[in-house]
Symmetry: C2
Subunit: 387 residues, 2 copies
């Protein structure tokens, strides 16, 4: 198996980008990633996307994006695993290079959720859940997470504002990320007074609906130096990649307060990379909702069960904390263009590992873990990257 | 790179299966493939599917299907490339085994197109085309193929019934396939009197809307004997796999009468396998419309340009002909559950190569090529299999 490196990255700003269609977003991210790697062609393009069929009446997205980018005669496909589509696409790209099927592969994450015509984004997001046993009964995706959060607060006797620190940390970091959707820090008061969406989830617990695209150029590690001599950024190696699934419906899960697929995929990834949790310099986790942040910290072993919320303070998760998370704003502040998120997380890890994270740079960051969650934990993909 | 073999196959009958939802179809195909391989677990499941997001309001299909099949803690994802989704998923599965990421991988093709609630299947199929530049203007997917067929007939001065033999051949073979949707032979008279859908395409030129699922179990070739000792079928090796793209919109294509991606992917596959066109014992091509059969024969080099339609006779394409095609009924008679079709094609090649194709068995078949087309030629995936 060949070792795989990331030799170029690209990303669009995240937001309500009404003047850009899906193809334009993808083009911006891919063309800047190709430029950074100093290549004009690739052997394959894998697009992580969740909602184009449902919201845009557009499938065949791999072919569409490649065509619009002027790439012909190459392999193209879309990879979908709900909100974990981006990391799932990265896995496919990594397999393509590791196997020798391809040498240079583009992995793009792409989602266009706003400015859709005659479509219901909330219903679209519910396609991540079980359509026949969850969505059909009217529960939205926020609703499912609200049930989990309610249960967590009851089970562990946790106060309503216990999660505020996760949101405050994300916004503090997003304020320094020029690509973030929300570039304003928030206070505890902002959190406490935020409108509730689905009890107990308020708007500050929840990541926003938005558009965005991000891209990575993959190449065999042994060739990586060829692509990185012309720009300031070095190559970053994919030290580990693992994916695991769990029940789709929350009501089928043995324990809705434990992300078993997070545990399985991160333990597998740590073994592959030969490192321990304590070795990680940062953890880009999937903070689609603050409850997911707490469950992620617990399920991956950073906190004991029922105590993940206690890490919601700057000394723990801030840029100078024990375990920096959401270092460029996370899903909450950078934004959560669902199928693109997994690729944004990797782009941000590459920024940290190459010393190009700007004001949010973590000094001497050498080892980063990213975790992308599909649905309420049915697909969880973990990557460990090293400089 | 490890060599990859197919050690188990499964398929549901194709048809309007109103009593089976997507998950039930997938379960039937996967469980019979696992049983044939004699395994109960796998490391990954990749589902080829095009329309679940658009027609079923269900994404996250990899996780859904794995969960319903009782498979947890494994990698799951959906792979989409319009009607080439099945073969695109097989490529991902093959890369997973070839790279060493996984050992035992399930590749399923799945589509549920009938009995959808409040959805328009014709509009769904148009998501394979360019939503903003083709579908938005009202052209259906049949309509796009009708434009191509019209142009072909004009350019090469071909009569209306020139394509009949392709349909007659497919139905002749489908009549002996117990899994086929249509198990009745047709006559030239049936073809000539068939109702027209979009001039000049009639109902006998066109594959049907239907439901179905098919599955493959992949393993490293060096281990293949472990899985095939307990059943009559031997393992079949994937000798070559290649994929190429072309412009998405037909109006952007340099020449709408030539499938450049077919040429690129088949030439690449032939080189990989180290064989020539003349060596092939059968060719499972993508006869979604009879015009696509003619273009496929020409673009892959079996016929000169403008002369593919001359092969529409039993001595050329019948089971005892020069190049048997659609040997189990093809998309026309077996049916075309779009995202599943690419996997059905492989299942049928495996039947032929293992001497289990029943009444349609091609004597001493040793080498088979399958080609799966997405859209009107924007994604074309070619596999060559050997016994």
């Amino acid at each position: 198996m060949r070792s795989v490196s990331i030799v170029g990255i690209g990303q669009t700003p995240v937001g309500e980008l009404w003047d850009l269609s899906a193809r334009h977003l993808a083009y911006q991210a891919i063309s800047s990633a190709l430029a950074e790697a100093g290549v004009e062609q690739a052997d394959a393009l894998f697009v992580g996307n969740m909602l184009s069929g449902n919201l845009l009446d557009q499938e065949h997205l791999g072919a569409l994006v490649a065509d619009f980018c002027g790439l012909h005669g190459i392999e193209t496909a879309k990879v979908e695993a709900a909100c974990a589509s981006g990391a799932a696409a990265l896995r496919v790209g990594a397999m393509a290079v590791a196997s020798g099927f391809h040498d240079i592969v583009i992995v793009a994450g792409l989602e266009k959720m706003t400015d859709t015509v005659g479509k219901d984004t909330t219903a679209g997001l519910a396609t991540a859940a079980d359509a026949e046993y969850e969505a059909l009964h009217g529960v939205s995706f926020v609703g499912l997470n609200a049930l989990i959060m309610q249960r967590y607060m009851y089970e562990y006797d946790v106060p309503l504002d216990a999660f505020a620190g996760f949101s405050i940390n994300a916004h503090r970091n997003g304020a320094n990320n020029p690509k973030a959707m929300f570039q304003d820090a928030i206070t505890l008061d902002d959190y406490v007074r935020a409108p509730v969406i689905a009890t107990p989830i308020n708007i500050m617990d929840s990541s926003p609906v938005c558009d965005g695209a991000a891209a990575l150029i993959l190449a065999p590690t042994e060739w990586a130096h060829r692509f990185t001599t012309n720009h300031h950024r070095g190559a970053v190696r994919i030290l580990a990649s693992a994916s695991a699934n769990d029940t789709l419906a929350v009501h089928d899960r043995r324990d809705p307060l434990f992300l078993q697929a997070a545990q399985i995929s991160s333990q597998k990834a740590l073994r592959q990379a030969g490192v321990a949790l304590e070795d990680l310099d940062l953890f880009e986790l999937h903070d689609a909702f603050t409850i997911m942040t707490a469950l992620s910290l617990e399920s991956n072993g950073f906190a004991r069960r029922g105590e993940g919320w206690r890490m919601a303070q700057e000394s723990e998760i801030g840029l100078n904390g024990r375990l920096p998370i959401s270092t460029m704003g996370g899903l909450k502040s950078r934004g959560h263009p669902v199928g693109a998120t997994g690729v944004y997380q990797i782009v941000e890890c590459v920024q940290q590992l190459t010393g190009t994270a700007g004001a949010n740079q973590i000094p001497q960051a050498r080892l980063a873990m990213a975790q992308n969650i599909g649905g309420s934990g049915a697909t969880i993909v973990t990557h460990i990257l090293g400089s």
